[in-house]
Amino acid sequence: MENRIASYTIAELAVGLRHDQFKITDLVEESLQSIERGNDLHAFISIFSKESRQAAKAQQSLLGNGYDLGPLQGIPIAVKDNIDDTQGATTYGSSIFGGHQVSQDALVVNRLKAAGAIIVGKTNLHEFAWGGTTSNPHYGVAKNPWDESRIPAGSSGGSGIAVAKRMVCAALGTDTGGSIRLPAAMDGVCGIRPTLGDLSIDGIFPVAWTMDTVGPLCSNAEDVEMLLAVMKGKLHSFTPVRPSNLTGLRIGIIKDYAITGLQAAVRTAFEDALALLQKHGAELVVLPLPGVEEVVNAQLVVDAVEPSAAHYQLMRDHADDYGADVLSRLRAGCDLTGVEYVQAQRFRLRFRQEMEQLFRQVDVVLTPTLPFTAPHIGATSVPISDGSTVSTLSGNMKYTAIPSMSGVPAMSIPIGFDQDGLPIGMQVIAPAHREDTALGLAKRYQQLSEFHKRLP
């Protein structure tokens, strides 16, 4: 069977469907078969085979009779299982919620369905989205599609795998401290964390509610843009941004932070990406970001206390039903004081102002998405090229914490591979509400490189 999902963007598939080159039922069948072939990767918790085939027939009939719902009509999409969907169980990655039926779709799911998208399944995640490995003790240890001995990152690991293997055209993830961008980077796909508060998180189980966001993972920037538009409620039309004109574009590089403490391959890929953008006219501006050395500490405090508050009763009633790592972190969050939480939130206010100041001087800020490529399953630390090691938990937040704590949007795009063939991502950070700036740069970079087209 032809793999159209791997070959075309959503817009191209939409054109093909409207010119009768293939049918929605073909696309959905292709998606379901691909999911079945990749079963060992543990990307999915629920698969809606029967429902998806029925929906495909219904959408094909609608489209054939002139009811055109827009470009997402009939497109197979997956949804992370901490996002409510009435179609099947919503487990939040926890055995406590095994078989849990919700009465209402999350708003973003409702919008996807209204646009005619076909939700083919719910993806695996780190339990309650509180962790970065997607080694889920209840629904399977998710595996990186590029090397199955390694993690796909998390917490949206199943969504990263599903897109990397082109099981679906897009998958929804959630991002508190990096949970969309980290799997995007480690699995070799694109993923965006939108501006904090711009997209409704109604119907999504909270991790840290002052940081939680929802966004899409896709194989390319064009699809990310389309998903984002529909999720924002622009169901039928939007104006795509053009690839950035790099001439005169001012790219901020954080002084003494952007390329320190990286694995050698990550550093090389990032420097190569900068050099490519510079060669095509972009101006690199090296500038300090006060407070950046403390941003992970602040994130870890907020990102510990708020989940512990959200789980306060549940973890007492069901402590034995949690995985050991998540329970440890939830207990750690209970040990922090109110003063420490307030200090972290004070830091955050100040850091956001520092970011606003920075964006008066540059159009975007670029960093690696994280300092290393995918660690082995079970690893708690990762070697860095200077002979030292970094913690997989706090180390992978080194760059993703910057947008998470300041609330600005950020996108991870593929920029290369290491010596073991593992993907490397670059984080494009834009000013608040300027997702278009990040998307424009991502589109331009895609014109200059082929990394986003490689398949595991």
């Binding site: 090296v286 750690a332 030292s388």
Partner: protein, 74 residues
């Protein structure tokens, strides 16, 4: 701030210690790591506050430095 080249970007200042700490998976170890990080942050944030004779005399929050005495009732 200045317009830079790749070579400018290559300057390094070493690695913050907190990235080198492996995460212990036992609860007590995790709690200690978190408390250590919270203390580091609190030390950092406390530098925004200036004291004199045991009294807060100014609070630097964001870009605005507030004279604490102006908030006191006369």
């Amino acid at each position: 701030m200045g317009t830079g080249t790749i070579n400018d970007v290559r300057s390094t200042s070493g690695e913050p210690d907190h990235f080198k700490t492996p995460l212990n998976e036992d609860s007590a170890g995790v709690s200690k790591i978190w408390k250590d990080k919270a203390e580091e942050l609190s030390d950092y944030v406390s530098h925004w506050v200036s004291y004199q004779d045991g009294m807060i005399i100014s609070v630097q929050d964001g870009f605005n430095e507030t004279d604490a005495s102006s908030n006191q009732r006369s």
